[in-house]
Symmetry: C2
Subunit: 195 residues, 2 copies
């Protein structure tokens, strides 16, 4: 029998993401995607049940990659500063390496059609939990509700990042954020978290 050209699926996925990032969910259609990926519309339906399935698959894919990258080299026993900095750096690496993945992710997350089933959490929560517990025990950090911790530990990070990704920075047209700037931000965050 004829064998699947896995390269085709990869192309479809990549082009779909690019189209959505460039033109949003409106302006995205299966026929235009087929043209962009150089396949027949019918071919897409070999790999994906329908449009919704394709979008969900893309989302889950990005979500899992993101979660995996965020925890690369992560040690739950690291100090609060080291652990948080590693996670920030991991996320930045991913975001600046695959900007369209992140933009797609962000756009999808803010859209109403999320069914976040099928998403494997891959021990993310557990790792974070013990990381935070350690920090509290070591007295590097005050006792803070989990949501509040999350908001302080990542809210400013994403906020500053988005300033740069959206080009809303009034001062520079750089695409990345300098490590120094992020380090300065991290120091403020750590100050907030201290006991």
């Amino acid at each position: 029998m004829r064998v699947r050209d896995e390269h085709k699926e990869a192309t479809i996925r990549q082009k779909a993401m690019e189209m959505i990032v460039a033109e949003g969910f409106h302006g995205f259609s299966m026929q235009r995607l087929a043209k962009a990926a150089n396949v027949s519309p019918a071919t897409i339906y070999i790999y994906f049940k329908n449009k919704e399935d394709l979008l969900n698959s893309l989302y889950n894919d990005v979500h899992q990659t993101f979660a995996r990258v965020a925890l690369e080299n992560f040690d739950p026993n690291a100090s609060l500063e080291d652990g948080l900095w590693l996670q920030w750096k991991n996320r930045m690496k991913f975001i600046f390496e695959y900007p369209s993945h992140y933009r797609f992710y962000d756009q999808f997350r803010n859209s109403p059609l999320i069914h976040h089933k099928d998403i494997k959490e891959s021990g993310f929560k557990e790792a974070m939990k013990s990381f935070v517990m350690n920090a509290i025990i070591r007295d590097e950090m005050a006792r803070i509700e989990p949501e509040t911790f999350w908001s302080i530990a990542y809210g400013p990070f994403y906020s500053l990042l988005n300033f740069h990704l959206m080009g809303k920075s009034m001062m520079s047209d750089q695409y990345t954020v300098s490590d120094e700037k992020m380090k300065r931000l991290l120091r403020l965050v750590l100050k907030a978290l201290r006991p």
Copy 2:
């Protein structure tokens, strides 16, 4: 001559926002909007040049309302704590009073089709600038780059808010955030900003 029924335009606007919040940009169409607002499709084109014009108009409307509400009773000479708390409260009031406006705004902002022309800034930036300058002079706050200040002062706020709006809070199903919780968050933020 026949007179315009301004109520019609308001209905169209409201229904459009509700539809987009409920079903996203996909799933939104002029014909379905016409049905939802109980008007003929052609009527929409009396009030809006086309679909894009309608969406931009909605966005600008929400943006301006939001900016106006955020500054209600705001005094640039207030202390950092009072000024920031007032803004947070104003934003919360708006967001919880008109959740669909905020969800629409968030979704639109994350979509690629933003042409943020036509947006009157209404002295927002100036007010914030002098507010921050005052705080620095009074030594309530360290010298911090504007972007970094913004990220610390609002990043955690929106992050915590979104936890609740998206129902991702694992602990409660409440729609609003308690003032106490927000106050606790504000104290952490102020700690971060201190000189």
